[in-house]
Amino acid sequence: MEFINTYLPYILAGISVGGQYALIAIGYTMVYGILRLINFAHGDIFMAAGFMMVYLSASMPLYISIPLVIILTVILGFLVERIAYRPLRTAPRMSIMISAIGVSYLLQNCAWYLTSGLPKQYPKIPWISASVSIGASTTTVVTLITPILTIVLIVALVLLIKHTKIGMAMRAVSRDFETSQCMGIKINSVIGITFIIGSFLAAIGSLLYFTNYSTVTPISGAMPGLKAFVAAVFGGIGSVPGAVVGAFLIGICENILKIKELDMTTFSDAFTFALLIIILIAKPTGLFGEKITDKV
Amino acid sequence: MSSNIMLQVENVTMQFGGVIAVDNLSIDVYEDEIVALIGPNGAGKTTTFNCITGVYEPTNGCIKYRGEVIVSNYPQGKMKKQYLGKNNGLYSKVINPTPDQITILGIARTFQNIRLFKNLSVFENVLIAKHLRAKQNVFTATFRLNYREERRMREECMALLEEQSLLNLKDAPAGSLPYGLQRRLEISRALATDPKLLLLDEPAAGMNPQETQELAEFIRQIKEKYKLTILLIEHHMDLVMQISERIYVQDFGKLIATGTPEEIQKNQRVIDAYLGVAEDAFA
């Protein structure tokens, strides 16, 4: 019991942050599955959602501002795809990736300009910001609902991908871009919807994440973004359940590293990347990824 | 026919997941020969090439070059359980060279879908092939201490291009050449690696009868000039019948026939394979 009391908070924090990473990671994994693009700007869309909430909730009640934030984030994600990625559809992959880095740079700088680089206090959402006690440790409700909400959303998403027409189109496009184009699938709308789903989940993730961490800054999207991407790779890029498993694993591991007795705090970020490199070398396709061989 | 054996493919099996692409294939190529490997689409010919040149690791079997084992493998790991082919347990050595090691041995190849360095000039394309045999290291090369070697390489390439009548195009980007010349450049580039054995993967693909005829002439010429042994994959039967001394026929990964062009033309199994199964064989 003593043991649990001491270490439970770390595990709880890990699960909660893992769930938030999972929601971001899905955006990465779906976009990568379809476009073979690491959408570096995804973390910044997540950050932008945080700032929208800060500004909108200042002038509107929560029941309006929360849906509005989600809608605006989705629009932002869609616009990024429309403006920065679609014109480069036929360009080499490196160009699109550079464009993604450029968008990330732009979003961060815009956020910086608007907030003058000042950290903004995230609004408190009643009920989920409240504190609860588990055993001897105290945490917030959001910590507990994050994993549950994450699982629910992901089950819904998997059902969508498996059983709807658009889901089938997505799977087809991710399997073979050109052929599915020939089969009459409207590639652009499939990609658009992918970005919409990714941004939607990022917006929800941002609500949970910032409720937990209470402050938004222009760079607060960068690290969670990268870690979520690592989670996506870890689970096997293109695989939604893989990304979720990877995200929870990374979230828990990095919090365990913060346990004082291990004295590894310096490496809690580095650890994520070390894990990435190990998985890439040992099993380049990740936990649940499928092998793709180049045809010679 | 010289009795010196050049290349021996022994019981090579290549299995991808549950699909066998090359099934217990054995091919012998003797020095100074032109041998053709034919078969319907998807018969596993290019996969065989890829096994020989180190692009793929065969699942089982071995390949010898001038009597020496250059590739050898047996089912291991996950494959141990999944393996569906024959001769399991016959081999116990693992030799999986990378393609460059094969090239250094003197086996050069071309590709079915031409793979030139499209952004580089014709001259550079050929010059790159000289890199592997140049006596230099990165230091001497950078500081031009290898200038004699560099000059020799350039001269050899100029001579080669002149022979292939590509000299007037030497500064053009390889990607800008017409299709026929790209084929020719690809073969020239392979020649520049000083091979003894040349593997040609569908050299006549996309050519009209006239061009095919010229190609047949060209292949004979380079064979004489560079003392080459040639193994080629081809769908143009007139080309195959005209130049090859022996023919191997592959279908569904398996070897179904072997012999001289005349024998093959009469072989009922071959005719079945082409006509009975695949409609587009002579396309």
């Binding site: 908070p9 770390y10 924090a13 003058s116 950290p119 105290t138 917030t140 961490y213 209470s214 705090t265 | -």
Partner: protein
């Protein structure tokens, strides 16, 4: 043809480059009756919030005194504000901008790292710099052009350690610092030395830049049985720490240095029952004549300018760094008066003997160029109405 266009474009740009430097050369000297004071502060990045408040103090001071008489001639004072982006690699360029503007004296910066990084740029140009709130000893150590009007980290660390022992009877302190932050690591270290010297034990941890999850650290603090948590961090990390500590309902008081004396902290803590104590240079409730006059004037000035009010974090709480900024500017004015010249070298000569009674107390420099200070204010956050409560004036035992 395309290539020619690109070459032409490049040539034009190169011309612009030279045109630019030509303009710069002439631009500096045109107005003979202007004295430029450089403001070297971050208005973006980690320390952007604090930097802005310091700039506000300077601007307020400038609004009060914007002319100076030297030798019977009245000079106008112009502020040249440049953003060093809280970043050590951008700082030298920002500093070079000020040097290029021919500033007579420079005030800044909030954050010791950037001050150290840019120090040699000013040093090479022979321009004196007056640090307002950079508390790391390395800023002034070993150079003659850098001065400062605030106290130093060793002093501040000791003060806080004393305060922890005196007020909370603390035996164990948990110290949380930010990796790669000179201020944070330095102050943490001085606190540790003093606290251990007073017979306590410390548990140290540090977090990485960009870290936003502090729950694990707070858990460690609880598990270590700490009586106080000392977290000398930037305000950005501070609001995260406070927010998460509040969520976890901990009853260990949080202690921090001067950076936390900011309305950002009050925002983060408001409505919670978290105990927060900070050491600072100035207290808003100061009832000395100079102090209260400054507070009233500054508030009125802020409220009259919505922009400025926004830069202060949207309220009119007076941050200590604003007071320091004000004083630093006034010291610069004193030094110019004393030197009787706008020449940087003369001002540098005059600075060591310049004295001034500012809103943060009497200022005089020692041999190194640091202000001689022996007391610090301790304030606590009033979480009910988001304001500061004055606790004590703490000195060292």
């Amino acid at each position: 043809m395309k290539r020619f266009i690109s070459i032409a474009v490049i040539l034009c740009l190169v011309l612009v480059l030279f045109a630019g430097c030509g303009k710069e050369k002439t631009g500096g000297d045109t107005a003979g009756d202007v004295i430029k004071i450089g403001v070297f502060e971050p208005s973006s990045g980690d320390n952007g919030a604090g930097g802005k408040q310091e700039i506000l103090g300077i601007e307020y001071a400038h609004s009060k005194v914007n002319t100076i008489d030297i030798g019977g001639k009245t000079y106008k004072i112009e502020l040249k504000i440049v953003d060093n982006e809280s970043s050590n690699d951008k700082a030298p360029t920002a500093a070079a901008t000020l040097v290029g503007e021919k500033c007579s004296v420079v005030v800044g910066s909030y954050g010791s790292g950037v001050s150290i990084a840019a120090s040699s740029v000013f040093g090479n140009a022979g321009i004196p710099v007056i640090g307002a709130s950079c508390t790391n000893p390395q800023v002034t150590e070993g150079n003659s052009h850098y001065f400062r009007i605030c106290y130093l980290d060793p002093f501040q660390g000791t003060v806080l350690a004393n305060f922890a022992v005196d007020n909370f009877n603390a035996k164990t302190a948990y110290i949380l610092t930010k990796l790669g932050d000179d201020y944070s690591v330095g102050l943490g270290n001085y606190f540790k030395e003093a606290f251990v010297g007073l017979g306590g034990t410390v548990v140290e941890e540090s977090f990485q830049e960009g870290n936003s999850d502090f729950t694990a650290f707070i858990t460690s603090a609880i598990n270590s049985g700490a009586d106080v948590i000392f977290a000398p961090t930037s305000t950005e990390a501070a609001s995260l720490i406070i927010g998460q500590a509040t969520a976890m309902n901990i009853d260990i008081p949080l202690l921090a240095g001067d950076t936390w004396d900011s309305s950002v902290i009050l925002d983060a803590a408001s409505g919670s029952n978290q105990e927060i104590y900070v050491s600072t240079f100035f207290d808003e409730g100061d009832d000395s004549a100079a102090g209260s006059e400054f507070v009233q004037g500054f508030k009125a000035w802020l409220n009259a300018n919505p922009d400025k009010l926004a830069n202060n974090g949207g309220n009119d709480i007076v941050a200590a760094v604003s007071a320091l900024g004000y004083d630093a500017y006034m010291v610069a004015i004193e030094a110019i008066k004393k030197a009787g010249s706008s020449n940087p070298a003369d001002i540098m000569g005059a600075l060591p003997t310049t004295t001034y009674t500012g809103v943060t107390g009497d200022i005089a420099f020692d041999d190194i160029g640091d202000a001689i200070r022996n007391v610090a204010y301790i304030k606590s956050a009033n979480t009910a109405d988001a304001s500061w409560n004055f606790v004590a004036i703490q000195s060292i035992k």
